[in-house]
């Protein structure tokens, strides 16, 4: 499933992260998934939230720099090798993963993984098991049907 990820620029100083989180709290936003990429000067906070457009606006109004990126969300079996099998489908079809993060979903439902890939549509079909139909699909175009509510 293709979903929208929010990326927020966070300066590398004490209190910077809490300022972002306080805006989310004040707007009653529940974080569905999160990862932080960091360098020595700054970090990029990547968030999955419901109604990302509204949350982006709230963060912008609070003065944060925010970007929305379409990413792939997939379920993997919460068993050894679960992730390996899914990722193999992508690498076997030459889809490049820019970054990914995983988290345990609700009890017993397996784990959920968010991936930023270079060929989103193709990756989506690959992980859905559509191995044949995937070839030749290089269309990056956004169908405009990305849902606003996730899990």
């Amino acid at each position: 499933m293709v979903i929208k990820q929010l990326s927020v620029f966070v300066e590398n100083r004490p209190g910077a992260l809490v300022e972002v989180l306080a805006v989310l709290k004040a707007n009653d936003v529940n974080i569905r998934a999160l990862s932080v990429a960091d360098t020595s000067d700054f970090g990029i906070l990547r968030l999955i939230v419901n109604e990302p457009e509204q949350v982006k606006r709230a963060l912008n109004e609070a003065g944060f720099t925010v970007k929305i990126t379409p990413v792939l969300s997939m379920m993997v079996a919460d068993t050894p090798g679960g992730l390996c099998d899914q990722v193999e489908k992508l690498s076997g079809a030459d889809v490049n993963i820019e970054y990914m993060y995983a988290f345990a979903a609700n009890a017993g439902n397996g784990a959920r993984v968010v991936l930023k890939v270079d060929n989103l549509k193709r990756a989506e079909r690959l992980v859905a098991g559509d191995l044949d139909g995937a070839t030749g699909v290089d269309d990056e175009s956004n169908d405009g049907e990305i849902p606003n509510f996730y899990w």
Partner: protein, 432 residues
């Protein structure tokens, strides 16, 4: 269009004669009436009669901001305090504020030169001018105000701050001209975008921007983002306030109101007068002011003078856009660095914001230059390597232009204070 055609299109000989008469009168007034400058002249063994021609001005001592501080508050007034009808003061970010006093006649001169400035920018009786310079001790607000009233434009005296209200008034009142600092103009454009307002929905046509140095690139950014003509105006409270010089429709330098202010360009290190066309520090003499005249005031602003006739028909000497300040100049590992160079690099790259700050520090006897650059939504990426690549790209461009390496750090939008007044471009933490 001229406000005062005879003064603005006067022939060179007539102007020289007028300036010579005014200069001799000024020097004699200073010698008779102002204790500080008399002692300065006496130290050099000078009498008023020693100044007979314009070239003789080079014999006279300079006046500096420090002289104003040393004579705080009224020591440089050349008339009894009872003749003073208005007092302004600088913000005094470093040390004591500098105080200036105006007689009734001085206020008349100020309104006159400011009316010339606004007319040169295409503002007239039909214009609605929103003055978003601060009103109060700062000369920006009231200076533009009286000039605009003399001109007969409809003045909207909003003063600075409350940007959302500025924008609302701009729309509702049909503002056609705005006066503020260039960095505030960009801030207004940003705020308009955030509010979802297209600047083209307003009646705004022109802006007169001054009080801080700004580059050609910043002009293009303001013109593109607000859809207006951005005119540079120049002035400083020590001389009179805004109105000392202004751009005309040709936008090829700023015409100095030479019948009131006599300009020279000097070498900022040696103090010697430089030939026309050479870049150096602007020195101004107020030929006609009464309350607090200035002889050879060192502005610290770096520019060039051009006496070639201008396409607009004005014959007055033009100063180039201020290139920086001689005291803003940083010497980093022996290399001269001006904040304006950093600004032009950022603007030429197109993708970055012109909001930046230079931080200089010294570690183990080595100067380190860090340039903070504000991030915009357009520059931002969800991938670390793209942001790092952007930092490296800016770093590379800066090293090319500055000849000294700088560390670039991306910072959150609007972390560099700028909106209301002058942006603080340099933080020098070196203890030397």
């Amino acid at each position: 269009m001229y406000w005062n055609k005879p003064a603005e299109t006067m022939g060179r000989e007539a102007m020289d004669a007028l300036q010579t008469t005014s200069l001799k009168d000024l020097v004699s007034r200073m010698y008779r009436q102002q204790k500080f400058y008399r002692s300065q002249m006496q130290e050099k063994g000078l009498l008023p009669e020693d100044v007979r021609t314009l070239a003789d001005i080079a014999k006279l001592p300079f006046t500096t901001k420090q002289d104003m501080r040393d004579n705080y508050p009224y020591g440089l007034f050349a008339v009894p305090v009872s003749e003073i009808v208005r007092i302004h003061a600088s913000s005094g970010t470093t040390g004591r504020p500098t105080v200036v006093g105006y007689t009734k006649k001085d206020l008349g001169i100020w309104a006159e030169v400011m009316a010339r400035t606004l007319t040169a920018a295409g503002i007239n009786r039909q214009s609605f001018i929103q003055i978003a310079y601060g009103y109060g001790l700062f000369t920006g607000g009231l200076g533009v105000h009286y000039g605009a009233e003399l001109l007969g434009a409809s003045v909207i005296p909003v003063s600075s701050g409350n940007t959302a209200r500025q924008i609302m008034l701009m729309k509702d009142f049909g503002t056609t001209a705005i006066a503020c600092t260039p960095s505030y103009a960009l801030y207004i454009a940003e705020t308009m975008r955030e509010m979802g307002i297209d600047p083209r929905e307003t009646a705004l046509k022109v802006g007169v921007f001054g009080a801080e140095p700004w580059s050609e690139g910043m002009r293009q950014a303001i013109e593109a983002q607000l859809g207006i003509k951005a005119m540079d105006i120049y002035g400083l409270s020590e001389i009179i306030g805004p109105g000392v010089a202004c751009e005309c429709s040709a936008q090829k330098g700023l015409h100095i109101s030479e019948d009131h202010f006599y300009p020279e360009i000097i070498n900022p290190v040696t103090g010697e007068v430089l030939p026309e066309g050479e870049k150096g520090e602007l020195v101004l003499t107020t030929l006609t002011k009464e309350g607090m005249p200035m002889v050879r005031y060192r502005t610290r602003d770096l520019t060039v003078l051009d006496r070639q006739p201008c396409a607009c028909g004005r014959t007055t000497v033009r100063m180039g856009k201020v290139l920086g300040r001689s005291d803003d100049m940083l010497i980093i590992r022996g290399v001269n660095v001006f904040p304006s160079q950093v600004e032009s690099v950022l603007l030429n790259m197109g993708e970055t914001s012109p909001h930046y700050q230079l931080i200089v520090d010294r570690q183990d006897n080595l100067d380190n230059l860090t340039v903070l650059v504000e991030l915009t939504d357009r520059m931002f990426s969800d991938e670390v390597r793209r942001l790092e690549a952007l930092e490296h790209k800016i770093q590379g461009e800066l090293a090319n232009v500055l000849n000294v390496s700088a560390t670039v750090r991306l910072v959150d939008a609007k972390t560099i204070e700028r909106s209301e007044g002058k942006a603080q471009r340099v933080v020098d933490k070196r203890k030397i």
